[in-house]
Subunit: 220 residues, 2 copies
Amino acid sequence: MSKPEFQRARSPEAKQMREAAILDAARALGAEHGIRQVTLTDIAARAGMHKSALLRYFETREEIFLRLTAAGWQEWTPALAARLGAITEPGPASVARAFAETLAERGMFCDLLAQAPLNLERNVSLDAVRDFKLATLAARECVFTALEEQLPRLGRDDALDLIATAVALAGAFWQIATPGPEVAALYRSDPRLAHAVIEVEPRLTRILTATITGMTPEPA
Amino acid sequence: MSKPEFQRARSPEAKQMREAAILDAARALGAEHGIRQVTLTDIAARAGMHKSALLRYFETREEIFLRLTAAGWQEWTPALAARLGAITEPGPASVARAFAETLAERGMFCDLLAQAPLNLERNVSLDAVRDFKLATLAARECVFTALEEQLPRLGRDDALDLIATAVALAGAFWQIATPGPEVAALYRSDPRLAHAVIEVEPRLTRILTATITGMTPEPA
């Protein structure tokens, strides 16, 4: 934080705009190439600034992608709550499908969900981790509310486990379902590897249907 | 592969011993520090050889850890099958506990399970990926057999989904449960972050119990 004063004397609005531009650049690159390929230098180039200038806004590439992960939670959870609210045939299968569809539609978010605990939370400040955890905690509230309406017999602890299961599986399955191009070709060419080719949405729907069914046994 | 002939003219036994020594060194370092911290240079130093010598046996650090992941599957699955075979009170909860206990006892394997699709499968040769996939596929067979005996109503597709769910959740939850020391201290210090502290085994037992219950409905 030893930058000369004239560089820091921006208006809060100008600072927010630069941050938003950096996040937009990282989002576009992540969607094009996958998170793992994107460097801080790439993001600075896409945002049209020098890397040294970018470092005044974010400390590491991990901080940028952790911010995008939090933004992903804030965008996904209301969409999921709306999908849950629109269910016409209540029950475990419909709820599972709402989770699976809304997650499978958000490939970069699935990528980020898997990367966050492994890679992103490990190279940022404690403040950044705290902000991230509190943001994702708050984002869950609208899902709890929607689940209470759809599945009145699902307790709060089960709802927490269900969300954790859905995001962990979506992250892991997305990684397995999107290997590099050479490995994808290998999977298609060798019938013994047919099991390695998975589709995120149907598998997630099947598993979450079973999990929710087991969490909400019919009253005896 | 332009090494001089005299270096490659080892007996197959000598080559296997060097490979085993390298894998042992990587396993010890991974258990001490977590996979993500361990470099090829660290492994060479622990195995008592130069990095250039190590590169005659393995192409990348990822290839070494992918081999350890396959070895982890080959060690875990018979242990799980034995635990399943020893169940005295059959049912979803006992089967779930066998999965959760045997996975939670194997921290480095959980770490590897999460790292494999994200990081390890992406920096190795196609042959290495093929060998890895075929090894983990074969390792599952003894679990299928044990599951058939414990849960006769669980179909093969559900058994495949169950194994995939257990390893994906174990990998993801292990990462969340073992943050760096500073982040762990933050979690303990801020009551708003209590939800961020999770225990792998009880959570995995709860979720898998529900999933298996939903996969094996009582006949009407």
